[in-house]
């Protein structure tokens, strides 16, 4: 089975800037894959190369086994890209836009699927409205629908929730998760790391046109972030047995790294033994944001 996306040493320069400096990655079919990185890391350039909007200077890039240059027709049929920028054609209504986009893929009688998309993306009431009259969030939904008109096995979402309200985000993620469950491969870029942590099974982090980390979300979290027990103490110090590994925060708070529930229990037992007065207590789970910040710092120029 060919990979959903396979990049081998993909490089691209724009003048003096190396937007992609040899990217190699493989996304398996059916994965929910996150592509993270600061602005200018090369995420959008990589996605654009996948869709044929950008031509790589070196390396090879395939979608479902089809080379994006040599076999561009087959490659473009199997990928749907939601662009980052909100763009639309002001001459047409929502339904016309989707019908036309279907036609570009050679799909004529696609009305049922278009209806389904309109319904699922809460666009049905606006089906016959001109694109110009839509709000930003609605225009973005149309972009999502446009990327899905040809039911591509590989769906690429480039920051689809930038500037989108909570309700739409929930609708969108619900829909995308269903698509993923139905076998579609999802490639997602986002700056909302909690979204990536929640949705993606594997994550690649990019910086300066390179992949600087790539692993399953669980492994990245385990390697770079820790579960922490936070306690706020009143009028007493942290017992010496705990203080060695702990760090002090403002307002009498302490952060105590804990591996699991037994470890939490152990720490609490120590506090009871020392007769410490605990005013507040919480367990903070590992966060992708922490992983991201650490990795980016490691690879800062």
């Amino acid at each position: 089975m060919s990979a959903a996306v396979e990049a081998r040493g993909v490089a691209k320069r724009f003048g003096a800037v190396a937007a992609l400096a040899g990217v190699t990655l493989e996304v398996e079919q059916g994965e929910f894959f996150g592509l993270l990185g600061p602005n200018g890391a090369g995420k959008t350039t990589l996605i654009s190369a996948l869709g044929g909007l950008v031509r790589a200077d070196a390396g090879s890039l395939t979608v479902m086994g089809h080379d994006v240059r040599a076999d561009y027709r087959a490659a473009r049929r199997v990928v749907g890209i939601v662009p980052q920028e909100i763009v639309f054609d002001p001459f047409f209504t929502v339904r016309e836009t989707l019908e036309i986009q279907s036609g570009y893929f050679g799909l004529r009688a696609n009305g049922r699927w278009i209806d389904e998309l309109l319904e699922r993306l809460a666009l049905a009431p606006k089906a016959n409205a001109n694109m110009r009259s839509l709000s930003g969030g609605m225009k973005r939904r149309v972009l999502v629908a446009q990327a899905l008109v040809h039911r591509p096995p590989v769906i690429v979402l480039d920051e689809p929730t930038a500037g989108v309200d909570v309700e739409l985000r929930q609708t969108l993620w619900g829909f995308v998760r269903e698509l993923n469950a139905a076998g579609h491969t999802i490639v997602l870029t986002t700056h909302y790391l909690e979204e990536a942590q929640l949705l993606c099974s594997r994550i690649a982090m990019m910086r300066d046109g390179r992949i600087v980390a790539m692993d399953s979300t669980a492994k990245l979290l385990a390697a770079f972030s820790q579960r922490v027990l936070r306690v706020q103490l009143e009028g007493c110090e942290l017992p010496a047995a705990l203080a060695a590994a702990a760090t002090r925060e403002a307002g009498g708070w302490w952060r105590i790294p804990v591996a699991d529930a037994a470890h939490v229990e152990q720490a609490l037992a120590r506090l009871r033994e020392a007769d410490a007065t605990v005013a507040a207590i919480e367990v903070a789970e590992p966060e992708l944001e922490e992983v991201f910040v650490k990795i980016m710092r490691e690879h800062a120029r």
């Binding site: 027709r73 087959a74 763009v87 570009y104 050679g106 799909l107 040809h150 269903e178 698509l179 139905a182």
Partner: protein
């Protein structure tokens, strides 16, 4: 509509019946070209008041003003009144300008607003993109041309000596500027660059192509300059279709205009294939 067996199915795949993921791949070997052509025609037709109505009105105004002002000064062909002489020229000038306007403005608008990605992401071949923009621009040009004749019919009836010649030149002429419009639309990054192209190249070339006069009335130098203008042959040959008279033999005109059309088409296809200014 069955899901592909090669794709892994996760839990809760309750939309699997709808997402027959590989179906799209199997049936999508129909070309996207007819849709792109349809969309390009719909684009100008939705605003036909501006894209067809306005140029017809302009041609009508030229006719009224010039026929009145110059009727006694210009005698182009024997047995043909100046007003009659003007009509095919004005029709062809409108066709040339509108074919250019259609393909160039559609492309620049798509580039500036960014919706060009809707055309670049689907599996459309460069030749399909070229043909769709070309034909849509020609449809607009021919509609405008017919509009000019329809509007002038009650003012100045014009004979039609050789209809096939007229059609041939209408097609080649509008194709020539439609292709030029694609080149300009691809090349221009901003609206003012396109306006410059239109105002400093297309307008002078169409205006000075013998719309308002027979080049036999020009001094030698300007007659030779006119002979370098491919639009002159389009207009002169088109006129032959109506009066059976022209400054240059119609075969020669058709040959030169067709060669210019072919050369420009070749360049346009080359640019599209290379992704010049479209795929970075």
């Amino acid at each position: 509509m069955t899901p592909s067996p090669t794709l892994p199915k996760g839990e809760g795949a309750n939309v699997a019946s709808v997402f027959a993921v590989h179906d799209a791949v199997e049936i999508a070997h129909v070309s996207g070209f007819p849709t792109l052509l349809y969309k390009e025609v719909l684009r100008f037709w939705k605003v036909s008041f501006q894209t067809v109505g306005a140029p017809v009105l302009s041609a009508l105004l030229y006719l009224v003003v010039f026929a009145h002002a110059l009727a006694s000064h210009v005698q182009a062909f024997p047995g043909v009144s100046y007003a009659q002489f003007l009509v095919p020229g004005l029709a062809m000038m409108s066709m040339l300008q509108n074919a250019f306007a259609n393909s160039s403005s559609s492309l620049i608008q798509s580039k500036v607003t960014g919706n060009i990605v809707f055309i670049l992401l689907p599996p459309l071949a460069p030749g399909e993109i070229f043909l769709a923009y070309l034909l849509a621009a020609m449809v607009r040009a021919l509609t405008v041309g017919l509009g000019v004749f329809a509007a002038t019919l009650w003012l100045v009836p014009v004979p039609v000596a050789h209809p096939l010649w007229a059609v041939a030149f209408a097609v080649v002429g509008s194709g020539l500027t439609a292709a030029l419009g694609i080149v300009a639309g691809i090349w221009a990054d901003k609206f003012d660059q396109l306006a410059a192209f239109q105002n400093f190249i297309v307008m002078p070339l169409t205006f000075l192509a013998g719309v308002f006069y027979s080049i036999h009335s020009l001094p030698d130098f300007w007659r030779e300059v006119s002979a370098l203008n491919p639009f002159f042959y389009a207009i002169d040959g088109f006129r032959y279709g109506f009066f059976g008279q022209s400054d240059v033999a119609p075969w020669k005109s058709l040959g030169i205009a067709s060669a210019a059309f072919a050369a420009l088409s070749f360049v346009t296809l080359l640019l599209l294939r290379r992704g010049y200014k479209l795929r970075h």
